[in-house]
Symmetry: D2
Subunit: 368 residues, 4 copies
Amino acid sequence: MGSRIGAREIGLEIGNIETGRFNAITDVKGVGVGHSTIIRGDGALRVGEGPVRAGVTAIVPHQGNPFEQKVVAAVDVFNAYGKSVGLPQIMHTGVIETPILLTDTLNTWVVADALVSYMHEKYGVQATSMNPVVGETNGSFLNDSMGRHVRTPHVFEALDKARSVEGHGIVQEGNVGGGTPMSGFGFKGGIGTSSRKTDYFTLGVLVQLNCGRREDLRIDGVPAGKDLVEPMPKGVEAGNSIMIIFATNLGLDSRQLWRVAKRVVWGVARVGHYGGTGSGDFTIGFTTGDKSVEEMLDELRRSGGEDARMTQNEGYLNSVFRAAIEATEEAVLNALFKAETLRGRDGNTREAVPLDRVKQILQKYNRL
Amino acid sequence: MGSRIGAREIGLEIGNIETGRFNAITDVKGVGVGHSTIIRGDGALRVGEGPVRAGVTAIVPHQGNPFEQKVVAAVDVFNAYGKSVGLPQIMHTGVIETPILLTDTLNTWVVADALVSYMHEKYGVQATSMNPVVGETNGSFLNDSMGRHVRTPHVFEALDKARSVEGHGIVQEGNVGGGTPMSGFGFKGGIGTSSRKTDYFTLGVLVQLNCGRREDLRIDGVPAGKDLVEPMPKGVEAGNSIMIIFATNLGLDSRQLWRVAKRVVWGVARVGHYGGTGSGDFTIGFTTGDKSVEEMLDELRRSGGEDARMTQNEGYLNSVFRAAIEATEEAVLNALFKAETLRGRDGNTREAVPLDRVKQILQKYNRL
Amino acid sequence: MGSRIGAREIGLEIGNIETGRFNAITDVKGVGVGHSTIIRGDGALRVGEGPVRAGVTAIVPHQGNPFEQKVVAAVDVFNAYGKSVGLPQIMHTGVIETPILLTDTLNTWVVADALVSYMHEKYGVQATSMNPVVGETNGSFLNDSMGRHVRTPHVFEALDKARSVEGHGIVQEGNVGGGTPMSGFGFKGGIGTSSRKTDYFTLGVLVQLNCGRREDLRIDGVPAGKDLVEPMPKGVEAGNSIMIIFATNLGLDSRQLWRVAKRVVWGVARVGHYGGTGSGDFTIGFTTGDKSVEEMLDELRRSGGEDARMTQNEGYLNSVFRAAIEATEEAVLNALFKAETLRGRDGNTREAVPLDRVKQILQKYNRL
Amino acid sequence: MGSRIGAREIGLEIGNIETGRFNAITDVKGVGVGHSTIIRGDGALRVGEGPVRAGVTAIVPHQGNPFEQKVVAAVDVFNAYGKSVGLPQIMHTGVIETPILLTDTLNTWVVADALVSYMHEKYGVQATSMNPVVGETNGSFLNDSMGRHVRTPHVFEALDKARSVEGHGIVQEGNVGGGTPMSGFGFKGGIGTSSRKTDYFTLGVLVQLNCGRREDLRIDGVPAGKDLVEPMPKGVEAGNSIMIIFATNLGLDSRQLWRVAKRVVWGVARVGHYGGTGSGDFTIGFTTGDKSVEEMLDELRRSGGEDARMTQNEGYLNSVFRAAIEATEEAVLNALFKAETLRGRDGNTREAVPLDRVKQILQKYNRL
């Protein structure tokens, strides 16, 4: 995907906080990402045969056994026209005990079941109760979705990769894993990621972008969608969805993470999403807990960086909120910019957003 | 299951409102129930082989196609140590678009996937987005739960039965369907049902009972659990769970159904459940909408049965609340009373509650 | 109120856990309770003049300044036909920063304003933002409620008492403070309290009881309401309300306290409340944090009292859940048993529940 | 306030949907707005004396008695560091039964009490239970907030005006009513309003703006805050708050209004708000119900304007969502653009945003 570049490479700086090394969710130490991508067949849709444009993306919260070392977590459900699995238990227990998987809608439950198998077989968890976490968006414009082509080996592949060395560095974006058949603002969408890093915490976001209408697209506030009239998409509905995963190393409790989670979707709002009635807009966040709030505040005091606003009413959360919104806005743009044109079932094609045209528009509005 | 009798047959009258004809959720016209029960093997647990004590219970909301004629619905999550599938979408859209299935915990996702297959194949729904609804409790004391033995044909069997003539009358209770391996208050539990019928609405409840500690058991307020010391259960944990489904023919909107749903679990509270930290206590309710609130109020006016309190502040809901709590309390007792002693994996045995002893206790407390 | 006795003195033992020294919310060290009771005038209602049967009850979370030392807190809203003030902020910040006040419905906002004055004047808090917490139930059957007779001096009196030596021991129950004009199950209701104490935590509950229909009353499971037909109440509606405050010394976080809060109302369900559509059923809980969960678990380990279930999935919460339900059930009964017959506006009279008759009924059902 | 102009007059067109006649919440027929503004004294703060920069804004949902004709309503709480009164009851009953008032934080409860008086005295409601609805933001940078200077006559004045002919046309914006002392993005803020009108519904929004950091300000996507460095504000904290009221004539039910309410705050997100930890971000919406969904769909069918997406999954809500976000974004800008420089207590001054400079910036980015 060499010709495709992210928002930074184009020259945009979304927000004010610096990115981490990889500008990816993997900047949160321990977090790994792996994709299994299935692109098979061409031509007319034959349910159960293809064409297949699907996959699964896995996020592991740390290098250990997530069932033994559960991570503190929280959920925000903005609009729940979506089938996400495992959310209610997170809301009550405040923890996640498995990796998180993303896929195409109708594969959700097979993928959840395969995740249980993986927990049994690869993590060695002998438990009769387990809360697999799976999110989805609907890739049926390109994919034989009713065929439900994602199977246990794909899930295992994504999880194995997420746990490998490769899974802990640069994250592949665009038409990969769960994002393979997805759309965004009438262009090709898919997986995007970004991160923010301050003196005292790192926060990373990964999205599976499948939402937005063309005319609503705003690139760093520029109403680019109105100028990007060619090629006009077909088959774009107001609904569609986005799955957002965020991770931080700051040891917040689940109520605090929930407050962060509620802000995350604002990063999508800024790109022009309206949260249509048929949209599944879910945010799942967790912390590796590598740095406790107490440690952070101690450091700030020692460095003289602390002020009253930082500690009053959990004021240190404000930077976390901002980091979360900024990283989400950028992750959405990265998904859009990195994805390549893809043809799927019945000749349906989603064009990549033309990056040269994007640059022209940003120049027109004096933003580059 | 001839020797096992329900709470009414023992002589108890839970609450003040009359039951419907079948004293079952099927008293709400159109609602059907079907079970697929798997009892196979004996002896030591061999994961993947058995012994199997599992199954699936299906509830269809009406005789039509539930995807085409979605039913207005609501959800209450009391304690979410549970894996229920499909709840967030119900909360936002206020409708259910598939039948509801109940099963053993680790079968949840295969069952959800099979429900999608059924929607495609048997209801002819050609949709790439669909929100299957599945609830579960944990039957691993008797069942090879890690073996995940419930498969697509079991799901199809339960659904076919729920749509047959048989599914619309008397409902089998106890060790059937999803309730096959379940426990209750240290005795054998499983499926139970009950209903309430007034001049202006019918409401039915079906539970999959798998919760409660022995010493907490209250039968219509009598602290029976303290006297029922023999045989003492092993392997009873404070957690465990209960799934509750209710149906009514009164055309409430989803906010109103949600208010009913919040009361339902009180019927379980009255039997002595404490809602342990590891408990999955979910209520899902829907209305067939056969009688609108306006029709109901018109009838009441004509019959002179209406008074001011009935219409002020949705006062007509009060009878619905009471019916829901009463029917739930009775459904829990029916699950307990109808279930028979069952031996499962590793020789683990759950004894049926001894009904003669129950009668003696009720007589001791002057309640029969 | 010498002739009125609580549930324990009658011979009932609600649940299994021991009570604290005072069997009151004040068993949680630091918690203080004060009442200001206004009983003035008689005869026909003249709005703005009386008769007045009103008051305010104050609960202070500890002996310090609650704005400086905020307490971790949580809220459960079961049915929100009620005007409680301050709840949304507790849900997001997880803390309470003022004492909690209880009063008659239409006095709620004057009482909240007076609480702000008290924070300024008596606690010396110079803040332009502050979240006063006030709960209410409707005492208009006896009280000139539209007259809104509770004023700043009453609020100051209740708060001063709650902070005095007197406020930290035995708690007055029945027709006192905010409970002065309230009803319960067609009898006189009002303030009631109870506590539970284990090796590792104390939990106390205080209720302002104003709910329940006569025929639904269950005393420790005995359907006493059906036998207590004389005198039949007038002016009892299905709605009405209950305010529940609980406190513990165990240092739970707000998510955990919320899980406790959700159970509390089950104690009311067991006495026969149905949560009518016009009911305001709110629970507010806090912890003084005197004993951290880590300390508790250390103690349990040292004493050999810990087992696996205690620490798995926050299993130590189960005893807290049970304590909360038991103490609530008993606090409701205490409110009912301690309240004395009171005549109010327009000659309206609420009779005290006849305790001799209660004993006879409990004997009839072999429960004493 | 002649020299101050709104976003439209500057040349901005926020979003794609047309405004109503007044570009105000009063475009929803029947909705009235009235302000009572208190500007008194100057110089050093003397608590209880002044200087006073405060007031109250009233919104009446229709011209009738709101207690007799309750309006269907819903609430979204984005971040609840705020004292809003009356929200829990709206969430459960789905209706509002009084006008809505906006004021300065510590006046909240006196204002709520005065609203009850108004209901008794002016609307003639003889009720002992009533749910007044009041929102607030914190004006203490300019105002003697601890002095709590808003009194019953101010509340009556605002309500009388909202019910007058004047209250049903053009709405005064900026330093009026509850918005008098408020700030926005380090400039003077206050009251702002806007509306959207389609063939089939009207929706209006009114905000009390008191949130945002200077550097975050985005005007229709342009990062204007970074260029608007002079004069830099003092006393701006990350927190602060916004109250948002919306009204529509489309007869949605409360679940649907709630879905709209969740989107509304996105309009604020687009102007650059981050929802700080100390922010009270509440949305309250209602419908006059003048046009039922059925009527609307009939009209659409007759006009040929209906398509499948309009009726599937409540697809007609999508336009309502978009209208709500657009009108909110514009109402925030109007509050900012209409407010004039104001000096308050201790010489504290909030400068009006310099509109000439704003135009230059918009021109620089080629947006005018």
